[in-house]
Symmetry: C2
Subunit: 412 residues, 2 copies
């Protein structure tokens, strides 16, 4: 199955429109777009995955309820405010966002997905959001994918969108997607915001299964700071405009769709790591040879979350001692004397001991912007890969204070 | 039971001597002491707790074996090299340290505890350690407590020692202790290096029980970076020179000893947090009202390990939104709408929502060097307190590279 990159982001698939406006949610003077809308001209099947954080933002609760009762056909999303820890008024505000868009588009309120991202604990400034909601549907266009991707950015420094075309079951289909996320990123079910559109004619069952598989193989495999957000959401809308017979769950076509979707989401997930808040390294961390899958995952996550390991990556230091110490406290079954650790295939640690590779060669690799660390536990056949980053002095500095948000909200 | 501070550290109790020499383990040119010895003139009962990391340094394996077969009567410890991930030669080196000291003191090898702290993965430079071991016993003195405390420092910037006297069962007893540790610190059984001496006449059973309780209430309650070392050890020697009948396990005297020991260890544990590598805040984190103890602990640890929460502490930002997001992913049972969060007793979040305290008042508190955050889950009666720190740009910078060690070891 050949995948071809195409332009247009979430508007690349047939029958989708996107648009965005600026409401000044973060700061009344900020001209950047912060309210986005994705709309399908045709009915859709839809699926979503959401954060497993037990503190869930209001829009998560609203979108989950909508998704349970109806197929979504549009998504409204804002950046600059998470609408989390905002109580019943927060739920009302999320519903107002859905209702306003539904009315303008002639849809039911429950056909709208709602998402927010930004600071936690502040009420949405509805005096500024409401006028934005009014003008939003008028900004829809079939070339609005980039605007949508731009409007959901918060601390992101790069716009993250992708679209591909491929042929499944003899029909040419498109998948478009955009994402935001550069902090509060940790492996777990669903991560940050990601919106996916497709014109594939697909059954609900195949769509749901493909989404779960694709998220497990992409967003659940990345780690920046080990923090899991209250707002993480991935939503997918499929409007069937590519034609053909619907892709059924247990079919070759469904497997192909799942693979294509995972490719799209993995590209976005990696882009999120590369854009990690003020970090400088992209590390592919492969754990092999674990007794069981869960042990491979525990080892990968312990390494990817270790402040000391991440600091050494920042310094370009091939510090396998810190890696093995994290392996040791991961709670996975290990045998110290069997552990191998390599950088881009060059051994740093063999059988739990320093390998013979000259430090200079390892430093050359760890000094690069991007490298692969492979840990082999030599106990079994289970493996797990995570895409992660260093932690930098600049990350801490960047995250020291959100006071500006509170000040702009008149709370300072 | 009144505790009185006294001088002398590990040499404050009767019949203990301490001493240290400089071997240049980190760097041949470094004149600072890096090899220390504690010796009891009389037989002891002894107890220890060790890291639960599954990668254990060679001296841990040796000390555990010694403690199982004999009562320890002396402790030899080096800084600058962890002797971890060094295989069978590392075990031999740790045994050589014990044997050398035992021969000089006329003890059996198994009466010696051995500890190391420093970089992981490099063999001990025995060519420099052996001459140090030879001269070490000659440096013992009854006023050597401070020298011992100084010799075990690595990235520590302050010397950590304490001694107290108190009266138990009508006898005046002393407890002296020193500790090192400023990084790789995380709540879990035993943490960093800590050596305790006492002249109390105490049964082995009471000593072991008291140590476990005291460690649980002190070193297991601190968190700097969430990393758990391969070398963490707490050893306690009790030589009975205070006289009186031995303190039995189930006695009022044993409870009193346990309390006094916990006081000593908690002071050292807090000193470790205050000396956390290049950090600037001391945060007392109280979690109350959990359904069960384990949930209170999960919540406290999730908050204390969150990079985003710790970054906000560094910035003096009373960011309760990040605290509640960490509570949400802690896997503890919670109800968002019941959660209260306060800074020094001033509410920041009430019932899961922003409280009415002016941000300025909260910023005044979070801007201080030391403050208390109280989380009340309002579900039950279980509580848990952790002493923790911020994470700073300087911490990352400080931990970027250990290359200098490798270079000094001729591996660069």
């Amino acid at each position: 199955m050949a995948l071809k990159r195409v332009k247009g982001g979430v508007c690349a698939p047939k029958g989708f429109q996107g648009g965005a406006v600026s409401c000044g949610i973060k700061d009344p003077g900020d001209p950047r777009p912060d309210l986005a809308l994705i709309y399908s001209e045709h009915p859709c099947v839809s699926a979503g995955t959401f954060t497993t954080n037990r503190v869930k933002a209001a829009p998560i609760k609203v979108s989950q309820a909508h998704l349970r009762s109806r197929e979504l056909r549009a998504i409204v999303a804002n950046s600059g405010n998470a609408n989390a820890c905002t109580g019943v008024p927060g739920i009302e505000d999320a519903r107002t966002m859905a209702k306003s868009v539904a009315t303008a588009l002639g849809l039911r309120q429950r056909e709208i997905g709602v998402c927010s991202t930004g600071v936690i604990g502040l009420p949405l400034p509805m005096d500024r959001v409401l006028p934005g909601l009014d003008s939003l549907p008028g900004n829809l266009s079939s070339r609005g994918g980039g605007e949508v991707a731009r409007a959901i950015m918060t601390s992101d420094t790069t716009l993250k969108e992708i679209a591909i075309s491929t042929t499944i079951g003899g029909k040419k289909i498109h998948i478009g997607a955009c994402a935001k996320g550069a902090g509060m990123i940790c492996p777990s079910m669903a991560t940050m915001l990601c919106f996916v559109t497709t014109d594939a004619n697909i059954s609900k069952a195949c769509l749901q299964k493909s989404l779960l598989e694709a998220v497990e193989g992409s967003f659940n495999r990345i780690c920046i700071d080990g923090d899991m957000s209250t707002n993480d959401t991935v939503l997918v809308l499929a409007n069937g405009q590519a034609g053909g017979k619907p892709i059924a769950r247990r079919s070759k076509a469904c497997r192909e769709f799942s693979e294509a979707l995972q490719h799209v989401l993995l590209e976005l997930a990696k882009a999120c790591v590369r854009d990690g808040e003020r970090v400088s390294k992209f590390v592919t961390l492969e754990v092999r040879g674990a007794s069981v899958y869960l042990d491979a995952k525990k080892v990968a996550e312990a390494i990817a979350k270790s402040a000391l390991v991440k600091s050494s990556w920042n310094g370009g230091d091939p510090n396998w001692g810190r890696i093995i110490h994290a392996i040791g406290y991961s709670r996975a079954r290990i045998r110290e004397e069997l552990i191998d650790i390599s950088y881009n295939g060059k051994p740093a640690c063999e059988g739990g001991l320093m390998a013979k590779t000259p430090i200079k060669a390892l430093r050359d690799i760890a000094g690069r912007d991007s490298f692969t660390i492979t840990v082999d536990l030599h106990l079994g056949k289970a493996d797990y890969t995570i895409y992660t980053s260093d932690i930098s002095p600049e990350y801490i500095d960047f995250n020291r204070s959100e006071y500006a948000y509170w000040k702009n909200a008149g709370m300072g």
